[in-house]
């Protein structure tokens, strides 16, 4: 490999990174990685992308391809025993004294959604997140996961219902507790 082609490959990788790194970052979050784990894992993902450039056929949507790589890397990280720290922190996060800033509300929203997602089965959660958080289409998700399209629709329907129901339940609990403290 010449240095010219090295540079070209790096430029191509840079383009993919700029366009999709936030998606990969969030995907790694969905796989349970947090903080530094994500920083390490995203490097691995894009090193694999760089190595496998030639294997990408161009027919599969790029995000589906990237998701497949991120999924394997995320799984390897979990197998290496890296803990899902954020999940353990939920209780403390929500019980801490909230400040009335939008920044805090966002943090609180993240914790709440993480909690809501936890009640979904793994396969439904994955489809739900890819559709509702990442905005991927059902065919894209089907390709990313290697699952039948109808199965994707079925999982998505069930996940949306469950998510909505859990959200309403939490909202109700929240109102009750506020009324109790007044």
């Amino acid at each position: 490999m010449t240095h010219g082609s090295d540079d070209r490959r790096l430029d191509d990788l840079g383009l993919i990174y700029r366009e999709h790194h936030a998606f990969v970052w969030r995907s790694l979050h969905h796989f349970g990685l947090r903080g530094d784990e994500i920083s390490d894992a995203i490097q691995e993902v894009f090193i694999v992308v760089h190595r496998k450039f030639d294997e990408y056929d161009g027919h599969t949507p790029i995000r589906s391809w990237l998701y497949g790589i991120a999924r394997r890397v995320g799984s390897d990280h979990r197998k290496r025993g890296q803990r899902r720290a954020a999940r353990l922190q939920w209780g403390t996060r929500l019980d801490e004294n909230p400040t009335k800033t939008n920044a805090f509300e966002r943090v609180n929203a993240a914790a709440m959604v993480d909690r809501l997602l936890e009640v979904l089965d793994d396969d439904k959660r994955e489809v739900f997140v890819l559709s509702e958080v990442e905005g991927m289409t059902a065919p894209e998700i089907a390709q990313a996961l290697g699952v039948n399209l109808n199965t994707i629709y079925a999982r998505l329907r069930a996940a949306r219902l469950r998510f909505q129901r859990e959200l309403e339940r939490l909202d109700l609990e929240d109102r009750k507790s506020r009324a109790w403290t007044r």
Binding site: R9, W25, S39, H50, E105, Q164
Partner: protein
């Protein structure tokens, strides 16, 4: 799903997306690793060529042995032949003795005397073999003593510092995200003590501004913000100061 749920998911997406600094740091690390890759391949090539060189050296040593060994073989063959001829003459003498059924001491001395021939001191070991066996270890020792190629020490130091700073930055940010702004402030102070001229001072100080905001401590927030503006008047992160609390 209703609008409330969709809003919540939008906020969720924003909160788990990477900060610009995270993205830049990750990209810098990726680009560096990718640039290192061809060097690694080249190093692998040099390793394999060293391996091939070693095999060739061994083959040469073996061929030297083959060249030298025939002399030894010749000598050993000669001695074997002598022994064989002696055996034959002994057997002949024994046969004759058996046939005649006479024990003649003269015959014995005559027959035994050639047996003393092999008692001649053995020939000196051929020198070339010694050379071959001596040279090989010297070479390998010399090779082992060669230092492994490594990056210059100052660069390693710098990289180590940046990594340590990066870890603190990530930790401080994670603590803030997890709703523990006091811990973030403590980490910012730790960073300031450990790396007074660190490359990530601005990011850390911006985190401190955010942390005071998260605590709702307006006085400290305003002071931290003012200090940031004074210390880093041309910082690109100044644009984020407002985001730190007012978004």
């Amino acid at each position: 799903m209703n609008e409330n749920a969709r809003n919540l998911l939008r906020q969720y997406r924003a909160s788990i997306s990477p900060e610009p600094q995270d993205s830049e740091m990750a990209w810098a690390a990726i680009a560096e690793r990718v640039r290192q890759q061809p060097k690694v391949e080249r190093w692998r090539w040099s390793r394999s060529s060293m391996l091939v060189g070693g095999v060739v050296a061994m083959a040469l040593a073996a061929s030297l042995l083959l060249i030298v060994q025939p002399n030894e073989l010749l000598q050993s063959r000669e001695s074997t032949a002598t022994e064989l001829s002696l055996d034959a003459s002994e057997r002949e003498a024994a046969l004759r003795a058996t046939e005649s059924r006479h024990v003649d001491p003269n015959v014995q001395t005559v027959e035994v005397s050639p047996v003393e021939v092999p008692t001649v001191p053995p020939p000196e070991p051929p020198k070339p073999i010694e050379h071959a066996s001596e040279k090989a270890p010297t070479k390998s020792k010399a090779h082992r003593s060669e230092p492994m190629p490594s990056t210059p020490e100052p660069a390693e130091d710098l990289l180590g510092k940046i990594q340590a700073e990066g870890r603190l930055l990530h930790e401080a940010r994670a603590e803030l995200t997890a709703g523990r702004p006091r811990r973030t402030i403590a980490l910012v102070r730790e960073h300031a003590n450990a790396f007074p001229r660190g490359t990530m001072r601005e990011e850390m100080e911006l985190l401190e501004v955010r942390a005071w905001c998260a605590l709702g401590d307006e006085a400290h927030w305003a002071s931290a913000r003012q200090q940031f503006e004074q210390r880093h008047p041309s910082s690109p992160l100044r644009a984020h100061l407002l985001d730190a609390c007012e978004r």
